[in-house]
Amino acid sequence: MIMVPLTWYLIIGAVLFCVGLYGVLARRNGIAILMGIELMLNGVNVNLVAFWRYLEPEAATGQTFALFVYAVAVAETVVGLALIVALWRTHDTVVPEDTDLLKG
């Protein structure tokens, strides 16, 4: 059985990360920015699992790190969405650019 080279997975992870980065930098909607962050975290996780499989399958470290990335991603998403809902309640917008309360 011919295995997929590790490089292919690393490329997928890198491209996924960069697509997410573009989403974070370019989108105006706060929810879309959060989706970009999720894509970036997914790219990182693909990298972690690929390194675990190809370099250290005997150790549990790679999968464990991916699990912690999941936990932090969940916490970040929940608080981020709560902030967006709070923003929507008080300012009637989901666009972070439009909130200029602290602008001098």
Binding site: M1, I2, M3, V4, L6, T7, Y9, I11, I12, A14, V15, L16, F17, C18, V19, G20, L21, Y22, G23, A26, R28, I31, A32, L34, M35, G36, E38, L39, N42, N45, V46, V49, A50, R53, Y54, L55, P57, A60, T61, Q63, T64, L67, F68, Y70, A71, A73, V74, A75, T77, V78, V79, L81, A82, A86, W88, R89, T93, V94, V95, E97
Partner: protein, 167 residues
């Protein structure tokens, strides 16, 4: 050149992942973007199955598709009708953002392709999920990060309820 089934599956899942991810960041409609986000999560789970990490594939489906994507869609439905249809979905710096993303992608690709990663290691041990579970509760391993993670999740839960509560 001979192509194995594994490589075909990898190409299919990889193409779906990247195509859906591109649609997520380019679609103006946030709801459509969320649906493509779910598709992208699904095919990343497929990649985990190819990488012989079935537990992580299940976690990916439960947490991302079942949890995060549902939460995102609920938030979209809750905050509907707040973006006017004629307002663009991207900000004025989108070309700079694309430039940064492409440059970073080229740099990462160069690093990945330039480095010699050596031969792939041997097969995954049969009890890899049991090893993962043991490492999580091993005092020499990850029991302290695990405890801190549970506190983090509790703090996030309380914080989210407090922030989003109706006053």
């Amino acid at each position: 050149m001979q192509i194995s089934l594994q490589q075909i599956l990898f190409i299919v899942f990889g193409a779906i992942t990247l195509g859906a991810a591109l649609l997520v960041v380019t679609r103006r409609n946030v709801f459509h973007a969320a649906v493509f986000l779910i598709l992208s999560f699904f095919s990343v789970a497929g990649l985990y199955v190819l990488l012989e990490a079935p537990f992580l594939a299940a976690v990916q489906l439960f947490i991302y598709v079942g949890g995060i994507a549902t939460l995102i869609i609920l938030t979209i439905v809750r905050t509907r009708q707040t973006m006017h249809p004629h307002v663009p979905g991207t900000n004025r710096q989108w070309w700079a953002a694309a430039l940064v993303a492409v440059a970073l992608c080229a740099m990462l690709g160069w690093v990945v392709l330039d480095h010699d990663w050596g031969a792939a290691a041997g097969p995954v041990p049969k009890n890899s999920i049991a090893l993962l579970g043991a490492a999580l509760v091993n005092p020499e391993g990850f029991v302290l990060p695990l405890g801190i993670t549970s506190v983090l999740l509790l703090v996030a839960l309380i914080g989210a309820v407090t922030i989003a509560r109706e006053r």
